[in-house]
Structure formats: C-alpha cells, structure tokens
Symmetry: C2
DNA sequence: GTTGCTGTTGAGTATCATTATCAATAGGCG
DNA sequence: CGCCTATTGATAATGATACTCAACAGCAAC
C-alpha cells in the first residue's frame, strides 16, 4: 500500500515552488536550506515517483544531469527553457506530434516517442546578456563548475 | 598545433563503422576487442573533439549516458532512432526548425536552439518485438544493467 | 489509544560515467 | 636527427544516482 509521508509532500511542494527545471541535487540542497532534514535518497525516490505518475516532467540537461519540473498541463506537451535563468514555458506542439509520427512511419518505425525541447534566452535574460545573471540564481538549474 | 595521431583516426573509424549511436564506453570496449590498445581517456577526448568539429553528433540517452554517432549529413539535422537495435536515420526537419524559432520568438526568447529526436522501433525490430533482440547487440547502445 | 505489520526513510556505501592529473611518449618543424 | 610541445594513458578524483539495511512511522485492526 502507498503511504502518505510529509517527505513526499515536501518534495512535491518544493518542485511546485520552482519556476523552471531543477536537478535532484539542487532541490535537495534547497530543501535543507529551508530547514527540512529530508534525505537525498528520498528526494531521488520522490522525484522518480512523481515522474512515473505523470506529476512531473523530466529531461536530461546537456551536462547529463536529470532535471525535473512540476507541470501544470496534465497532457503531453513540450518546453521552452531559458538556458540562463531556467524559466520554462509549456508549449503545445500538435504540428510536431504529427510530424514525428509521420517521419517515423515513413521510415518503417513504429511506437514513436520523441524528445522535443527548445532552449533559448528569455526576454529578461536577453537584455542583461553580457553581464552577470540578474535573476535569482536559486531558480536556475544547478550547473557543474568544472 | 593540432597533431595527427593514429588514435584519433581510429576513433573516427570505429565511430564510422557503427550504424547507430554508441557510448564512449562501448566504443572503447569494442576498439580494445579489436586489438587496439587505445586508452579510455583518449576515446573521450577524441569524441569530444569530433563533436566540437561537427564530425559527430551527440545526444544524452535516457540513462544519462552520452551517445555519439558519425553523421554523413554535414548540416543541421535530427535523428530517428530505434530504441531496440540503435539503428539511426538522419532526418531533415525544416518545418520543425521554423516552428522552434517561431514559438521561441512568440514568447520573447532569443538565440533558440532545440533538441528534437524521435525514438521508435524500426521495421525489423517491430516484427521481432516480443522475443529477444534479433539484431547484433554490438550495434545497440550500451545499457546499464542495474 | 495501542499494537503490529509493512512500506518508507536516510546515512552510508557502491557503482558508473566522465573528467582531471601528470609523467612518459611521439608528431612534426627546424 | 633533435627539440619542443601536444597527446596519450594509467590512475585517481569527481559527481550523479542507485543500493543496503536497520530504524522509523503510516495505517488499520483491535
């Protein structure tokens, strides 16, 4: 039986309070900074569950990190993501859905899924593009500083 | 100055001899099995270089691994990938390019890039879908066995 | 409210991919 | 041929994520 724990709810809320995509790591760090003693493993588990249940969307960042986001639109959709501040807009893309299935079947492929995401600079970040990030860095996805 | 080494050439060839996307790890393993004493770090470096120079395309597998492929089409294009055997077809997608830029600018985003890939089952794999993989597993991207 | 069963948690550890380190090696120009 | 320096590769380091297992905490029955 599935139990209700404050941890799972806390992860859901922390995710919902985020504008854009966040990594499990940074979500965990953020939650601890807010006083929650939640464990890292639990955050990973909760995020995986939410993604499975369709309450969250996930994508792979170019760095190979998995990023998560609580999505308001329940159905299938795609994302327009600011690569500077992480701001995310949900976009419907019926044209693209149709295109994906068409090219798949043209080449004999079946059971087509697709990954379609657009990265750019949002209006705010375009303006302040040359200087340091002007927006809350907490909202931005975690980046490795290698 | 950029030097020509047999290692770099060997990676290029190994990549070219592959139908679909391969991970750096499996490419390295395969090369060693063919008798090449090349080092893992060198394979990573060579793949990163090839990707930078546009001689190879890379994408993140759902497992978070980076996969590489030698692409014949020089310009910008996308991929239709069999999730069973790794077979990859290069597809042009002018419609999608236009769409991506349109939705980006509609939302005030600039400098739009996009990730567009279609995963499915190729004709051969669709036929043998219920049983074990019928195609050469060497051609399939490496998968973690967790 | 108490008890007991069992799903969940979390600290630590393991694993895997990838990158950094650095001494030894080998292009390629003179 | 010899030198300079880019490249290599064995190994260690790093970072994300998954696993382990004992302690804990929902929840239902009493």
């Amino acid at each position: 039986m599935k139990r209700n724990t404050w941890q799972r709810e806390a992860v859901r809320e922390a995710l919902a309070s985020n504008e854009g995509f966040v990594s499990a790591q940074s979500l965990h760090t953020g939650m601890r900074e807010h006083g929650s003693p939640i464990g890292l493993a639990t955050v990973y588990r909760a995020l995986a569950d939410l993604a499975t249940e369709g309450e969250a969307d996930s994508l792979q960042s170019p760095d190979g990190e998995a990023l998560y986001r609580a999505c308001s639109t329940s159905g299938h959709h795609h994302h327009l993501i600011c690569r500077r501040c992480g701001l995310t807009v949900e976009i419907a893309a019926d044209d693209v859905e149709a295109w994906a299935h068409r090219v798949a079947s043209e080449h004999g492929f079946t059971d087509a899924r697709h990954v379609v995401d657009v990265f750019g600079l949002c209006a705010a970040c375009t303006g302040s593009s040359v200087s340091a990030p002007a927006v809350a860095p907490a909202a931005a996805p975690h980046r490795k500083q290698q």
